[in-house]
């Protein structure tokens, strides 16, 4: 809340080479001298807010004249030649306009302003480059305070943002579950990129945190929004690891008018994070602790027990071989052996073996204070994140130091952050292994030692054939080994800013940010690890492995902003112009070695060598970008606002023929309620309509596509010489992907603030999508990247909130909020190469791939469309699945050419219902998230019931109970026959509606009144205690095994915070 108080209300920075001439004229027109009168020579004053905090940049004017002035950084002002008995009017964003009548002869005055009740986000919009009062801003942006986000999810700010903001979506990762070492895939207003082609492989997979590369996370998820932290580009990981107590606010910029200043980086939307800045006054110490308990959610698993599994295996023909009597006898003997195990009572519940309850703690200590001119802030945080898989976790140490110095017209500030994070990967391996392991295997032998290989060899048992399924090893065995598997990162950031208030209209800001981080990872698997159990024949040099990665990433950001604003009469002009530049460099070296037989030889140098196939690798990426922007907004009489923003961006990632690209946006807004014709009424008090349009760009792709790059062949030599060739045809004409964004928005206040409504409708047309274009192979190349595709997104966000009870006297507050977001995605243009991909997907050589619906991109369809063959279900007579061909006829044969769009992975509606109740110190806050209208291919159901590999893995209990057995059975699943006999390929039978309602967050809290005896004794002020429960319950139409590689977790947070 503090961050705007000591700044000029409209701290605008502006740039454009193109617009500068226009601006010049504008300046000349506005630089008019004003007349003066004489009565009191000098009136001095200071403006403060209701907390006694000084307000710089407040506008003080003499009523009835055109004379006005803005307060300086120290909140003071001087007015000359003030007529006696004048009325001074003071206005400041977020505060109610105050009028003071000067007493005769009064030459000094202190003006106190009260903050208006409106929400912060409605008052000022900070897009990271400049701030603007909401009244002078036409874009679609939404700000959430750090406190608000903390109340939703105190341990994961990104999750909190996705809960509260309907346009932000996090793709749920069914494999990685609640793995603390994976970054979420985050999108604002849907996808603007095809997840194919541009990088050569499928994109949008989750990135492990701690790789620390500034650019790579953007490249890996080309739909990731731009992250701006305190005015400089940052990474998703920084926000992920950040102490939530440091966050002052997060602003989500959605449409063109809000984001165009970022030019080529803006197409995916922008998330602007502002950290808290110290407040002047006595030293304040605040401390917050948050403890959380993670409990693995295994309720979605319904695996067979030992007896059922053995029976299912028998039915599936695992223990018989009708074609070979010799084998048949052997398999029967194996059955008997395993039956004996079952009968002896072995029935291991493997799922619980690698999981635990994770107790995590987060400490956060903040010290801030200072005088008017010098302020400081120091924050320390430590978090010890413990994952639900044993041994997995994430520790973060952070230190942040802020110092600022202000004099009359200058303000210098420096912010330094150092953080160290360490992510431990569980030695227990993938959770999926435990879901596979047979329950009739014993985890330990009679002496209590963990078993490595489950079954004795056939020769030991006197059986003639090898065991069905081969050698089974115990994944849990590895947990007892000395092995390393962790990643870490040390990062350092320094931001320096200089602000210069040139005069009451002009302001300049320069900043430089230096970021460096040193990521690394170590992974050591001794020879005793089960991964080598099957490879004893590989030879010593491949036995045991060690992998080490070291990296260094640096980014230097610089910016220079200039802002100008002027009010004359009913006209307000606000302009900002600026230049930003960025240079990044990322290096990393990976060394993999092998031949480490013993687990105490856990050093890289103890290895035997590179084995038969390993070699060191390194990467080095350099990018640079420059961007300059200009934004000008004109407001007339608080009624009409027009805004134009232009940007020229250049990046090293673009074709050498297209190094600089222009972007622009324009918007208009109309405060209907300020019109004369708008009669005061009891229904609508506030109504604002906004309309914007503009073009933004996206540069999340690799640099090599636009300039010829030679690749050295490092594996072969030609008579002692190395050779290099041009790997792919570089397209020097490659253009920026451009997204034309239109937004129509409205906000309304009804029933005297009892109901607040916000609505935004948007369309986003991305053109020049970069896709591969196939060419004649006689050119020497297969394809090259060109601007070939187009995608359209359209959708709306709607939110309604109501402070139902606001009883200050009895201290009862209750508010309700509901929001909903919807978007649709349509591909409007495609390159022929995508046709080839579709074709290849249809006729893939590997039939195994067809068990999952392969992506297919067609004009007129969405990117998340699910393509599968329509199914009429299981024929009760034969137990076979009945498919519908394209011509409508029925068949038992699955043919990929019959695939049709049968569902869409994107839900139609997504939103949240929130109730926030406060009574005295008590808080009860609940967020219910819902999803409606999307489909999902229930892959785990297919994999665990029909395409089960009973030879090697356990399966869902429905394998035995709900599959077709005899003619007449009306069931959902095909019959159980010998494995390999029938593969279930992508069919509409497994496309299910994915509707759910879940309790994303429930918070119960209590703030102790400061007048309590113990609170006073302990020198505390307003200690708060709160408990937050995340993902407590979920009602869904779809039942699927969630978290196949890492389980999902229920999260309980207990927090306590106080200020000394």
């Amino acid at each position: 809340m503090n961050y705007f108080k000591n700044k000029f209300p409209a701290k605008h920075r502006f740039f454009s080479m193109m617009a500068s001439c226009t601006l010049l004229l504008l300046f000349m027109a506005t630089s008019i001298a004003y007349g003066q009168e004489k009565t009191i020579p000098v009136v001095k004053g200071v403006v403060k807010d209701d907390a006694g905090e000084i307000l710089s940049g407040a506008t003080v004017s003499i009523k009835g004249t055109k004379i006005f002035i803005t307060t300086k950084n120290d909140g003071t002002f001087e007015l000359k030649n003030v007529p006696e008995g004048s009325v001074l009017t003071v206005s400041y964003v977020g505060h109610t306009r105050t009028e003071i009548k000067l007493k005769p002869g009064q030459a000094e005055v202190t003006i106190k302003m009260t903050s208006s009740t409106a929400v912060l986000s409605e008052v000022v919009v900070n897009n990271g480059l400049y701030k603007r009062p909401a009244g002078n801003f036409t874009g679609a942006a939404k700000t959430y305070s750090g406190e608000q986000l903390k109340s939703i999810n105190p341990s994961n700010v990104l999750q909190a943002l996705a809960v509260i903001e309907p346009s932000v979506r996090i793709t749920e990762n069914n494999v990685l579950g609640s793995d603390p070492n994976q970054l979420p895939i985050i999108q604002i207003r849907g996808q603007n990129n095809l997840p194919v082609g541009t990088q050569g492989s499928a994109a949008a997979s989750a990135t492990p945190v701690s790789n620390g590369d500034i650019m790579s996370s953007y490249l890996l998820n080309p739909n990731q929004p731009l992250i701006i932290l305190d005015g400089f580009q940052s990474t998703l990981q920084t926000i992920y690891d950040m102490d939530i107590n440091r966050i002052a606010s997060i602003t989500v910029l959605k449409d063109a008018a809000a984001t165009t200043a970022y030019g080529s980086k803006a197409a995916n939307g922008v998330i602007v994070v502002e950290t808290k800045q110290p407040v002047a006054g006595r030293t304040q110490v605040s401390y917050a602790i948050n403890m959380s308990v993670d409990i693995a959610d295994l309720t979605s698993y319904h695996l067979m027990d030992a007896k059922s599994l053995l029976e299912a295996q028998r039915l599936a023909g695992v223990y018989s071989d009708p074609n070979n009597h010799f084998n048949d006898v052997g398999l029967k003997q194996w059955y008997d052996y395993r039956l004996q195990q079952v009968q002896s009572g072995v029935n291991t519940y493997w799922l619980s073996q690698p999981v635990r309850n994770g107790f995590s703690t987060r400490h956060s200590l903040n010290i801030s204070g200072g005088a008017r001119s010098v302020r400081y802030g120091l924050s320390l945080n430590y978090s010890n994140g413990v994952g639900v898989m044993k041994g997995s976790g994430r520790d973060v140490f952070g230190l942040n130091y802020y110092l600022s110095y202000t004099n009359k017209s200058f303000r210098f500030s420096n912010n330094t952050s150092v953080s160290y994070t360490k992510g431990n990967v569980t030695p227990w391996g993938s959770f999926g292994q435990y879901a596979s392991q047979f329950p009739y295997f014993k985890p330990t032998d009679s002496a209590g030692n963990t078993i490595k290989v489950f079954e004795p060899t056939n020769t030991t048992l006197g059986i003639a054939t090898l065991p069905p399924g081969g050698l089974f090893t115990n994944a849990a065995y590895n947990a007892g080994l000395e092995m390393n598997n962790y990643s870490y990162m040390l990062s350092f950031t320094n931001n320096t800013n200089v602000e210069w208030t040139i005069n009451r209209e002009m302001r300049m800001e320069a900043g430089i940010s230096f970021l460096t981080n040193l990521p690394g990872s170590e992974a050591f698997y001794p020879a005793d690890h089960t991964m080598f159990a099957n490879a004893i024949v590989a030879g010593f040099s491949d036995y045991g492995s060690y992998s080490q990665t070291r990296g260094k990433n640096t980014a230097i950001n610089g910016k220079l902003n200039f802002s100008y604003n002027k009010k004359f009469g009913a006209h307000t002009i606000m302009a900002a112009l600026g230049v930003t530049g960025q240079a990044t460099e990322s290096n990393s070296t990976t060394i993999q070695v092998s031949g480490l037989p013993n687990d105490y030889l856990n050093q890289l140098g103890m290895a035997n060598g590179y084995g038969s196939s390993l070699k060191p690798g390194s990467t080095n990426n350099v990018t640079r970008s420059l961007s300059s922007y200009a934004s000008i907004s004109y407001n007339y009489d608080n009624r009409y606002t027009a805004e134009i923003t232009a940007n020229a961006s250049g990046s090293s990632q673009f074709g050498s023929n297209n190094r600089l690209a222009p972007f622009w946006a324009g918007g208009v807004a109309w405060n209907v309620d300020k019109e004369k014709f708008f009669k005061k009424n009891s229904i609508i008090q506030q109504l604002k309509v906004r309309l914007t349009t503009g073009i933004t760009g996206n540069q999340n792709f690799a640099a090599a596509m636009s300039q010829p790059i030679f690749q050295y062949n490092l594996l072969n030599n030609y008579r002692l010489q190395l050779g290099a060739i041009v790997g792919s045809y570089a397209n020097p004409d490659l253009k920026w992907q451009q997204t034309i964004k239109n937004n129509l928005g409205a906000t309304a206040g009804l029933f005297n603030g009892k109901l607040n409504i916000g609505f935004d409708y948007y369309t986003e047309n991305t053109d020049n999508l970069i896709l591969p274009l196939d060419v004649a192979p006689s050119t020497g190349f297969v394809n090259y990247q060109d601007n070939l595709g187009a995608v359209k997104n359209a959708g709306y966000d709607f939110s309604i909130s109501s402070p139902i009870i606001q009883d200050r006297k009895r201290n009862i507050f209750w508010s309700l909020m509901f929001n909903v977001g919807h978007y649709e995605n349509v591909i409007t243009k495609l390159s022929p190469a995508i046709e080839a991909l579709n074709k290849a997907n249809n006729n893939t050589f590997d039939p195994k791939l067809q068990i999952t619906p392969l992506p297919r991109y067609e004009v007129g369809q969405s990117m998340s469309r699910i393509w599968a063959v329509p199914s009429l279900g299981i024929d009760p007579a034969t137990g076979k699945e009945v498919f519908v061909k394209l011509d409508g006829s029925k068949t038992f044969t699955w043919d990929p050419n019959d695939k049709r769009p049968v569902g869409d992975g994107t839900s139609k509606l997504k939103g949240v219902i929130n109730s926030n109740f406060n009574y005295k110190g008590f808080t009860f806050n609940i967020y219910l998230s819902y999803n409606y209208g999307g489909q999902m291919y229930n892959q785990t159901l297919v994999d665990k019931i029909e395409n089960v590999d009973l030879l090697h893995t356990n399966a869902d209990e429905r394998v035995l109970t709900e599959r077709w057995k005899q003619p007449g059975d009306i069931v959902s699943y095909k019959s159980l026959v010998a494995s390999g006999g029938q593969q279930t390929n992508s069919t509409s039978r497994f496309v299910q509606d994915n509707n759910y309602l879940e309790a994303s967050s429930i918070t119960v809290g209590y703030a102790f009144p400061s007048n309590l005896a113990w609170v006073k004794k302990a020198h505390l002020s307003t200690p708060k205690l709160f408990i937050t429960l995340a993902d407590l319950f979920r009602f869904g139409t779809i039942k699927t095994e969630r978290g196949t590689g890492y389980p999902f977790a229920w999260k309980f947070n207990f927090g306590l915070s106080t200020t000394f």
Binding site: M17, S20, L23, L24, F27, S31, A33, V498, W500, I502, N503, M506, M508, I512, F514, I556, G558, K559, L560, F562, V579, G581, A583, E585, N620, V622, T623, R624, L626, S628, G650, S652, F654, R659, L660, Q707, I709, F710, Y712, N713, N716, Y718, R719, L720, L722, G723, A724, I725, V726, Y729, N731, D774, V775, A776, P777, S778, T779, G780, V782, Y784
Partner: protein, 518 residues
């Protein structure tokens, strides 16, 4: 970067400070001046932008960096030489090192009569389909598409070098400019010529028909198809140009390993003499016997690549020169060669069937008629890799083989020059001269001179020439092209038992080429 910003910052402040003083006196001129100054600074910044944004990716080498010096051009050329084995966008198996030599083309010339066996060679049905000439079968088709793609990728790389090299003549030392440029042009001709020989019709039947695109530009736009005749003419133009350029290099000796690694191993570069040999081959293919005669004799007359004179089989295995390396005008070096060999011909017991010329056929080839069991080729080129399993062994390499003998896959050898000259003489009805030329090779192979009575006619001399091709080029693939050039009845000359498709001499053009280049 930061310096730039600080500079601007400082500069702006300076201006503003000065004007602040002015402001005290003049009042309102300040905003205008500020803006002018700011605009001026930003204008100044603009030209710097482009330079700032031009950064090379560091873990790869951009062209602008590579071609800064001679080494870059050498490396780019070596890249293409490596592409003779494994080009980008290429086939599954080695290009000149397998498909165009010991693998596909030799199988098509019916060198391996057991290629019909299950899992022959690389395993799977690949060689079963090759030996049945089913070019449209999935895997064979893919391989043929890969040959096309790989050849043209090499050509594109050469064209790129040739475009870039012209403006960089001054970065070269000694005769290296001519070496790189000459070899690049010659390689371009080599690739196009082999593409013409595979994808064009036989010169006897389809000289005027469209064959392949002859690509001399580095561009993503496709080049139209040209006729076989025009394609061969373009090859000749390129080769003549290459010969001129390479003539300006040091051609005093054929080198092995010397100090300068780039000029070492002359025989692994498409050198001055190899270019002339190639000219003889192309002229012959075109039917221009006069020129074929001139260039084949020029190579023979240079005496740089003398025929062997003793039985290599007599040498110890560790130094056995099975490829008759002194005769090789140009051979591809590949460190993969021994792997290819063991994958195709030296398979371990139980690991599948090694491709082989069975005993009866071998005897028929080498011993009957003018042949004899004393033929060094018969003795040197077949070995038992397992007990009683005799396989072609031209590419067998002992681990201790001298380095210069390792990894060579012949592309063109001296004996072919004698055959070409003999064919030219024969065409002029000069049977005596023709026979004399053949006898030179026969003598070097441990055979008696041809019995004059047996080759009374040009036809009988032609038959002897064909027999020489059949014996000499086993595992080298040239025999297939010999049959094709003369449009021989493949079934008859090879004695394959399978029915051979009518268009066996023409490889199918890749579908993608037809789709995007018409």
């Amino acid at each position: 970067m930061e310096i730039q910003f600080w500079f601007i910052n400082y500069f702006l402040k300076k201006i503003f400070m000065d004007h602040n003083k002015l402001l005290a006196i003049h009042g309102n001129c300040f905003p205008k001046l500020t803006l002018i100054a700011l605009t001026a600074v930003i204008m100044l910044l603009a030209p710097g932008c482009k330079k700032f944004l031009d950064v090379p990716p560091k873990d790869q080498v951009p062209q602008s960096t590579l071609f800064k010096d001679e080494q870059g051009f050498k490396d780019a050329l070596i890249g293409v030489y490596l592409g003779l084995d494994k080009p980008n966008n290429g086939a599954s198996y080695g290009l000149y090192t397998t498909d165009l030599s010991m693998g596909m083309l030799s199988t098509m010339a019916y060198n391996y009569d057991n290629a019909t066996a299950a899992n022959a060679g690389v395993g799977g049905a690949f060689y079963n389909n090759v030996v049945a000439y089913t070019y449209l079968e999935g895997e064979v088709r893919k391989e043929i598409d890969g040959i096309w793609g790989g050849m043209y990728n090499n050509i594109a790389n050469l064209n790129n070098i040739l475009i870039q090299i012209e403006s960089k003549k001054d970065v070269f030392h000694h005769d290296n400019f001519n070496r790189v440029k000459g070899e690049a042009i010659a390689l371009r001709a080599l690739f196009h010529f082999d593409l013409l020989r595979m994808f064009g019709k036989s010169p006897l039947t389809g000289s005027a028909e469209k064959a392949i695109p002859y690509v001399t530009q580095f561009t993503i736009r496709s080049t139209p198809f040209v006729t076989l005749q025009a394609g061969l003419d373009s090859c000749i133009v390129d080769l003549l140009a290459a010969k001129e350029i390479l003539a300006a290099t040091d051609t005093s000796a054929v080198l092995k390993g010397v100090d300068d690694v780039f000029t070492s191993y002359t025989q692994n570069h498409l050198n001055y003499w190899a270019v002339q040999a190639l000219l003889a081959r192309v002229y012959l293919y075109k039917g221009d016997l006069e020129n074929a005669d001139i260039y084949s004799k020029a190579v023979i007359g240079s005496n740089k690549f003398p025929l062997i004179s003793s039985n290599v089989a007599a040498a110890l295995n560790a130094i056995r020169d099975r490829t008759f390396s002194q005769e090789l005008l140009f051979s591809v070096y590949s460190s993969n060669t021994s792997n290819y060999n063991s994958g195709l011909f030296d398979k371990a017991s139980g690991g599948g069937t090694s491709l082989s010329m069975l005993a009866a056929r071998r005897d028929l080839t080498y011993k009957t008629g003018s042949g004899n069991a004393s033929d060094y080729r018969y003795i040197s080129w077949f070995d038992n890799n397992q007990a009683a399993v005799s396989v072609p062994s031209k590419f067998f390499q002992d681990k201790n083989l001298p380095y210069e003998l390792q990894g060579n896959v012949p592309v063109i050898r001296a004996s072919e020059m004698y055959y070409i000259a003999a064919e030219c003489a024969n065409k002029k009805n000069d049977i005596t001269a023709g026979a004399a030329l053949l006898n030179k090779v026969r003598a070097a192979r441990g055979l008696n001179a041809l019995n004059a009575a047996g080759i009374a006619t040009t036809d009988s001399l032609s038959t002897e020439i064909m027999r020489e091709y059949q014996k000499e080029f086993i595992q080298e693939g040239q025999t297939f092209f010999y049959y094709k050039r003369l449009n021989k009845d493949l079934r008859q000359v090879t004695g394959t038992p399978v029915a051979i498709p009518a268009d066996v001499y023409v490889f199918p053009i890749p579908d993608k080429e037809k789709e995007y280049n018409h």
